[in-house]
């Protein structure tokens, strides 16, 4: 016999309050993305699991959630069927009890050996229980397998897709947000397969099987017993949307509150410096109180809803029992039937109370799914099409003909970042770029590996349009050393060998590290080349990072090189080392250097002076110092400073001598 499960709803509160991912609200206000007609999603196993038309929105988009089950559909269907059989077994259990009760009341049966009768039916009951247990396990096993499989595929496609999205996409999105979508939103979608769909079917099976049997047993009573069902279903749905709204509000404030705390903690020195503790406390109290108020509202909806459903279902249950009782009195139904009836009515009515929860959770899953799709619907960079290059094929002759670039934001053209860039360079030449922050230096070099595609004019590489090369092989032959290189949290060795598809021998790696002047530093780490970089291992200085990046690039052996030559962050000794390392790197390769120093600029074959996205001067050092302009200003300032220094030192030493 089945009673309602009060702890079930306590558990729900738990889910509501504890387990829902925080920070869902953070994603609100993200502009809807463009939906290209067709997108291929490369799946890790090589299949095209997520290939779908993605134009649908709303409900049809929602239906694609089912399409993701592809490959596990049969098992998932069996899983759901197992659930149905479990419930059928349960209902059969009620019928066994009915039979036992009627048997106990039947003098004929009692005469024929009651022990035997009871033993047989107890065994039948236990057999049913075993059957039910086995099916219920199968159901759990199957849904765990299917949902985890779908989610594994989803994680892989998201991961791969994101690393194949364009620079512009990553420029305009925040890491935290993307990570949230790939983790907590994915988990919400997992629950759709693991919990919500089975729950919906559970309610469905419980309702239909119980009602079916009831109808057979006594149809009038059966119909009477479900009067309240649509009401409870509807009301609980309405209520749960309310509750979730209230919960969203609550979460929203929670997010704001933790921002507030975060700011306070990271700025605690400023707070103290200006002695503003009291004010900070006031500010915090306000948001804290707001959250409490939102919490109270949530509490109100919660405490209103559950008793409401309880009383409604309770009244229905009592009324059905009363009516059934009279029928049993009149002999219309047997006492056993009455007892079975009461159990079935129980199993029929109470789940309705939670239907609303499932429905509103599904709507949440839908929102999460949409946020995931927004990422997946972004167009990937095309890495493969175009001419592929072998290392020796690329020479590094470049020609810029009135090239320009503007960002495009959601299909609309943005501001011009580069305009009318014309120059050419031959294999092995060094090009230096000079200009203030925001003058377009970085954007210009980012055009070469096709991180951004130029939008105007033309860029020719070895006489061919740059756009005709495939990005993959282009990038394979272009090396970049940034001012603040990004290292991964792996070992030093893995970081150095990061760019290579082939296996690298220890000797080769060490040779590169030596050439990059970083071998000694690495050997001083606790585990040498096997030391972890980053949070879990050593923290490297700027100079060390830079040299590891140089070693990494040396191993990559690119034909074209881009250097961000800024060593302001390192001491003189390190600077010397970096210089040596760079010298090794630069030799024989076409090199673009973003430079600040006359010393560096002087050595370049060609200097481009950029201002607001245009080349304002170009030429060699000797030519440029003859011209009036930015370059000469910089040159003069720097040499003037040298002079000034010398003067000061001289006067000081005179003083000393005096």
């Amino acid at each position: 016999m089945h009673r309602r499960r009060p702890i079930g709803f306590l558990r729900f509160f738990y889910a509501l309050i504890v387990r829902l991912p925080i920070g869902d609200k953070l994603f609100r206000g993200i502009p809807p993305q463009n939906h290209p007609e067709n997108i291929k999603y490369t799946a890790p196993e090589g299949g095209q699991i997520m290939k779908q038309k993605t134009k649908e929105s709303g409900f049809r988009g929602f239906l694609t959630l089912f399409a993701l089950l592809k490959g596990n559909r049969r098992l998932y269907t069996l899983t759901i069927l197992a659930l149905g059989l479990t419930i059928a077994a349960e209902v059969t259990g009620f019928m066994v009890i009915r039979h036992v009760v009627d048997g106990l009341l039947d003098s004929e049966v009692r005469g024929a050996g009651i022990i035997h009768f009871l033993l047989v039916w107890t065994l039948v009951f236990l057999a049913l229980a075993l059957f039910k247990g086995a099916l219920s396990y199968l159901h759990g096993w199957g849904k765990a397998h299917c949902s985890e499989q779908v989610i594994r595929r989803m994680r892989n496609s998201l991961y791969d897709h994101m690393q194949r999205l364009s620079f512009s996409f990553h420029d305009s999105s925040q890491t935290g947000e993307l990570v949230q979508r790939s983790t907590s939103d994915v988990d919400t979608v997992r629950k759709f397969y693991a919990n919500q769909i089975p729950e919906i079917f559970q309610v469905f099976f419980q309702f239909s099987i119980n009602l079916g049997i009831l109808l057979v047993l006594e149809w009038k009573l059966a119909l009477f017993s479900v009067i309240v069902v649509p009401v409870v279903g509807a009301v609980s749905t309405v209520f749960f949307f309310k509750i979730f709204d209230a919960y969203d509000d609550y979460q929203d404030v929670e997010g704001r509150m933790s921002n507030r705390i975060q700011e306070n903690l990271s700025g605690i020195r400023v707070v103290r410096a200006f002695a503003r503790q009291e004010w900070e406390k006031d500010q915090f109290r306000k948001i804290n109180a707001l959250q409490r108020a939102k919490g109270m509202r949530l509490a109100w909806w919660n405490s209103l809803y559950w008793p409401f459903g309880h009383i409604l279902c309770g009244l229905q249950f009592s009324a059905t029992l009363l009516l059934g009782g009279f029928m049993a009195l009149n002999g219309t139904i047997s006492p056993g039937t009455f007892i079975a009836f009461s159990s079935m009515v129980n199993a029929l009515i109470w789940p309705m109370q939670e239907l609303g929860r499932t429905i509103s959770e599904i709507s949440k899953s839908h929102v999460s799914y949409r946020r995931i799709r927004e990422i997946l619907d972004e167009e990937q960079e095309d890495l493969k099409s175009g001419t592929a290059l072998d290392a020796h094929e690329l020479k590094g002759n470049l020609e810029f003909i009135n090239a320009g670039f503007r960002y495009s934001l959601e299909g609309k053209a943005g501001d011009k970042v580069l305009e009318d860039i014309s120059f050419s360079c031959r294999e092995g030449e060094k090009i230096a770029l000079l200009g203030a922050t925001g003058s377009g230096k970085t954007t210009l070099v980012n055009l070469l590996p096709r991180f951004y595609d130029y939008t105007e004019g033309k860029i020719l590489l070895d006489g061919e349009d740059l756009h005709s090369y495939n990005r993959h092989s282009l990038r394979r032959h272009i090396g970049i050393v940034q001012q603040e290189p990004f290292l991964f949290s792996m070992t030093v060795a893995e970081n150095i060998c990061y760019s290579l598809d082939r296996d690298v021998s220890r000797e080769e790696m060490i040779r590169a590290a030596k050439a990059a002047m970083v071998h000694e530093s690495i050997m001083s780490f606790p585990e040498g080349y096997d030391t972890m970089v980053g949070e879990k291992g050593v923290s490297l200085s700027g100079g060390q990072k830079q040299r590891i990046a140089i070693a990494r690039t040396l191993l990559k052996d690119p034909r074209l090189l881009i250097l961000d030559d800024s060593t302001s962050a390192v001491d003189a000794d390190t600077e010397e080392k970096i210089k040596k390392a760079l010298k090794e790197l630069v030799s024989g390769r076409t090199t673009f250097i973003i430079a600040h120093r006359i010393q560096t600029l002087r050595q370049a074959d060609r200097i481009l002076v950029l201002e607001k996205g245009r080349i304002v001067q170009q030429g060699r050092h000797e030519e440029l110092i003859q011209e009036d302009g930015f370059y000469r200003d910089v040159f003069r300032l720097q040499t003037q400073m040298e002079k000034e220094l010398r003067r000061e030192l001289e006067s000081a030493s005179q003083q000393k001598g005096a």
């Binding site: 702890i7 738990y14 890790p44 594994r152 994101m162 933790s258 410096a273 008793p307 990004f486």
Partner: protein, 599 residues
Amino acid sequence: MSSAAENLENRKYTGSLKGDTLKRIFGETKNHRGLFIGFLFFILLTAFIDALSTYLTQFLIDQGILGGDRSALWRFSLYQVACFLVNGGSIFGFIYCADRLGHHIQYEMREKLFAHLQNLSFSFYDKTSSGWLLSRMTSDIRRISELTSWMLVDAVWGTANILISIVFMFFIQWKLALMMMVMLPLLSIAAVKFKNYIIREYRKVRSINSKITSAYSESINGVRVVKSLVRERKNLEEFGGLSHDMYRASFRAGWLSSLFLPIVQLITSFAVGVVILYGGWEITIGGMTIGGLRAFVGYITFMLWPIQEMARVFSEMQQAIASAERIFTLMDLEADIKDLPDALESPRFQGHVEFRSVNFHYVEEAPILNNFNLKVEQGETIAIVGPTGGGKTTIASLLSRYYEPVSGQILLDGRDYRNFTQQGLQSRIAVVLQTPHLFSGTVGENILYGAPGAGEEEMLKASKLACAHEMIMTLPHGYDEMVGEEGTLLSVGQKQLISLARTILADPDIIVMDEATSSIDTKTEQDIQTGLETLLEGRTSFVIAHRLSTIRKADRILVIEKGAIKEEGNHRQLLAQGGHYYRLYTSQFRKDHAPQMLG
């Protein structure tokens, strides 16, 4: 005390169900005794009424249906309706009380901890990350509030439900009840053991999940490198391995937990089988009624749920108690630096500063300052130069009283600064930091942060003095421009100008400056220079200098190395000496200037 702070993050928190922490947690509910008692009362009432209503069904069947008594049928049906009504009210009661209680506790603990954090020492913040503290403020406190409300609801309800059911079962048929009594503990132990096992499995899942999260964030952060090094395929292979591990772990946890329910159900069904068999026999000999049998079956299936949930509830309670241990350790930390009981509000200082035989160390084995003496006249600008780790920043921190000397004294206008309250003292000493910290809000709000009472005119005046006005007016919304979280929407140069205006508006008597210029272009540097001069004029100031222009103009330059003054004098004097300063200056000169030209 500071050693406690040191280990705070790494300490182990057991979460054992010990009395002390638990007592203290429930001590937090003392302001809400009404709600607390209310919800305990209602939850017990609910459990009782539930059991009672099952008990009453017995009579409805025995007396009403089998006894053929219509009035009994009516009567017991009405009793049942009454039960549902009372229970409706009681459910409302406990949800309402528990929820409210939880929110109150959460509010109060956050309030308390936040206030406490405002007063902890700098040494504490040097050792404790703000991320760690944030989790304490948010998730730990949330867990404690849940412990006092929902976890308690579950625990009390579950226990009460089982106990009350057993009592009623004894009323119906004591022999059968005894049999059940033998089975129940077995069932409970099995359930708890198994559930604990599953919980361990889920812990594994969580640990892989955090790996996945960091894999995502690393690949997004490093996407530019990934692209330029053409690593997409290999990355995906590696990630594929991780997501496969995740699949295996969570699938395992998933099917193990789907084993749990059938097992509990099977044991319960076995109990029901015993009831049918033995109860059926008792019925034939008159030791029990049909209604009693039904009630028995009802009680047993009813117990299934609390037994199933108990293990989860206890493991969650353990977590919550570990949270509470963390919170309480944090709350028990005392500030290293406390105001003396008779501390005075600070007057305006003239600006005489003296370090008298100051000794200082963070850890005993590594002394930073040893018998450090320094006398500064009113209005002097002191530049402090020297290698990293030499003690420059320590001098600044001691002066601002973020730390206090281990021995010796620091005198302001001839009085030991410990005579003043920290808050008063610190509001008279301005600290201009290397990387200025702004709060999210408008530019105007940030400038006013230094002097909340100031009017708009004063603010404008200050920002003009700081040469920030012009820059601010170029922003689309001027003073109402939002600066973003921690000022991220502005450049470092802009932030520095705003922080300068903020300091000028605060009108301090003594200034401590830790400056850095690497991120400012030449034009801004010039602007800041003018603003700085305004600020420094007539005030005693200490500048940890990187900027040569400031060093050259200082009244006195101290070369600090290994905690002692190696050289002292003005620019010309020191250059003439040809010592540390000379070397430092010449080597720094080129390096500092080249990038500044371009920004």
